[in-house]
Structures are given as C-alpha cells and as structure tokens.
Symmetry: C2
Subunit: 226 residues, 2 copies
C-alpha cells in the first residue's frame, strides 16, 4: 500500500424530513446496516489505513459515533460537529486534517459508492489534484427562470455531480479558508473560487443519493444485486 | 367519461444497444410483462376509450403489434413506422390523428407512469393547452463546455423533463408541420418553436426512463411495491 495519507470526510447531516421518518436518513438500514455505515465501509474496504472524519449534527455526534463503531469494526475515526451549511460542515471536518495527503469528501447518503470509483478518484486526484465524479443525464432538461417561464437546456452538455469529490490536501485545505459564499454548493465550487480548475471523472449510475423513501427501495435492490 | 377524444402516441423506438441485449428494450419484461405493454396499460386503465398510436421501427412493427395485442387485451390500436429521429417518429404518429382532442406523447420505456399523472396532465392540457411533467434535480449539476472545461449550474432552476408530454391537438398538430430542426429534442421544444409557450406540471420521481440494465432492476422493485 502506498504511503500517501488518505482521509474520507463523511458528511452525515440530514434530518430525515423528506423521508417522512424521525430517524435521520443516514441511520436508516439497508440490508440491516445503517446507510452511513455502508458509506464508511466502502472506504475502509478499499483502503484499510484510511482516516475517517465523520461530520454529524452536534446533538447526534455521540450516538452516530456509537452506531458506527458497533457496525464497522476497527477504524481510524474522528468525529466533529457539523455547521450551518454543507460548506461549514466540510470545513469543520477538514480542520481535523494535520498532514498532507488525499481527501475524499463523501455524502453520508450515497451508500452505493464502489471501491472501483474510490480508487479511480484517488489516482486522478493524486495526478491532477482533483477528481469530481459526474454522470450523463438521460432525461431532457429545462431551466426555469424567475418569471416562471422555462427554456430547454442541452442535456449533452450537462453532468450530474456525485461524490466522493476527491482532492489533494494542498488544494482543498486552502480553499476552505475562504469566506463562505452562497454559491458554494459542493467542494468543487469552493476550490474553483480560488482560481484552480477542477477535473471531472466518470462517476457511476448506481452511486445514487438517497433523498426519498423510494430511493431506499432502489438502494436495497442495487445492494442485493451487487 | 367526458367526450373529449384522447390519443396516446407511444414511442417505442429503442434498439437495446445500451441494455447489452439483442431484444429492443421496450420488449424486456417487468413482472413478466413487456415494458411497452406496461406503458400502454397505464393509459388504457386510466381512459378506457383512449386511442393508442404505437410508433415502432418499421422492421418490428408487426411483431410489436402482435405482442401488444396478446398482453394488453382489447384496445383501439393504430401502429405506424418510426422515422429517423424522435421528431419524425412522433410526426408519423400524429399524422394518424383525424379529430380534435388531447394527445399524450409518451416514451415506451417509462413503464411506471401513473394514472394520477396521466389525469393531471389531461386536465392541465385541456385548460392551458399543454402539460410537460418535470421534477426537481437532487444532484449538483455542471455544464461541460466545448473546451472540456466545466462550470456549475444552479440546480434549483433546473428540471428533469419526463413524459407524457400532453397537448391539445390544436397546438401540437400544427407544430409538427414545421421543418425538422436539431434542437427538437422533445415535443415541448417543437411546440415552442411555433411561438407558443408551454406549461410545466409536477412529474413523478418513480416515472423513470429505462436506459441501463440497472434501471430494469429499479423498475421491477418499484412496480412490485406499487
């Protein structure tokens, strides 16, 4: 195994509102294992020495850590409270990094991320500084304007952005020293604001984000077949 | 039942290339029934008197008709050969319409369309002239430029477009008399090119387009749970 340090910042911030349940969605079980633990396992199974930095709402920090430890087994785990926005949550996570290496920032609600994607992101980020997984869109697209009218968008040019968004520490850490800006919707936009260009990589269609109850069913099916 | 005539143009044009199978994907079975037949049944179960206009590649026209009749039971069915592009296929289908009414144009690979969505589209198209079902996008989006560079796109303003795209015949039939234009990627863009504005309506997340083998599994799961 190479000696490059690896960090996975796992953002587990959801409150479960859209899932119609009191349980934060990152704890909902898939094949009997909380979604969040599938995410963490994917990284640990790929790189056993990876440092997991778990970002969770302050009130759930202790319970999240307990759940993760009981399901995942031995791991290098640091937990930290989330912030107001995704930017602030990731920023809190990144502040736990003390040495150079590669950082994966991953949604705690994308439990289907594969070892293959994680490894490809790692290699590209090591070489080019970043790897942002994206996939083509299969539906037609429209843009809705402020007046409620809409116009078509060329879907050939549009990509759906996934995680893990992967970076060299030298690139992502300085970027998160910036002041917050509402346009920071993901890590790529934060890095770009420093003037760096980011590098896309082919994502995976199965690497879905669990947002609605129907997505749980889909994830369950995909996990069973994988 | 109202006396407004109803037509569903079902576009079954795929060749199955992306599915890794020799069977055109519209014939692949979901719960034992070809995907295309699920589409047709959805419309017939909603409006028993609806006229189904099936558009299929010329070489598959006869077999498609045979399969549909064996699975779907009694229906008002007209079949017509598809054309070079989706525009030409839909144009061929629309030319079979002789009287005024409401037209649904539906992808033969969206087998999960619900009666509720079909009825809502009908009502809105009757009132406003059109109903284009769209859903919000849950992933971040980027636009890839010709130089390979990409930039973020505000996902709050983007909608994924589904079918059935639904219109008054008075609006869609004249629109399809236009010369073909490469920007005609769906029916909404064709109608807009006549200077008409189109009206969006809330679509359904389950109303997915089957494009890859993984989508079959998802559709199967969603059908079983519905």
């Amino acid at each position: 195994m190479s000696s490059v340090r690896k960090y996975a910042v796992i953002v587990a911030g959801g409150k479960g509102v859209r899932m119609g349940t009191d349980i934060p969605k990152q704890f909902l079980p898939l094949l009997g294992v909380p979604m969040l633990c599938h995410c963490i396992q994917a990284f640990i199974h790929t790189y056993r020495d990876i440092n997991i930095i778990l970002v969770a709402p302050e009130s759930q920090l202790h319970s999240t850590e307990t759940i993760v430890k009981s399901y995942v087994g031995p791991l290098h785990l640091t937990s930290v409270a989330g912030g107001e926005t995704r930017f602030h949550s990731v920023q809190n996570g990144l502040r736990k990094i003390e040495k150079k290496g590669i950082v994966f920032v991953h949604d705690g609600v994308r439990p289907l991320v594969s070892a293959n994607l994680i490894k490809r992101c790692y290699k590209q980020a090591l070489e080019l500084g970043s790897a942002i997984p994206v996939i083509q869109c299969t539906d037609s697209l429209r843009v809705v304007n402020e007046d409620g009218l809409s116009s078509p968008l060329n879907r050939e040019q549009v990509r759906l952005v996934q995680t893990p968004q992967t970076f060299l520490t030298d690139i992502i850490l300085p970027a998160f020293d910036q002041e917050y800006n509402v346009n920071f919707t993901d890590e790529a936009t934060v890095v770009e604001a420093t003037g760096q260009s980011i590098h896309l990589i082919e994502g995976e269609r199965d690497n879905i984000k669990i947002t609605n109850p129907g997505d749980m069913l889909i994830a369950d099916t995909l996990l069973k077949s994988s």
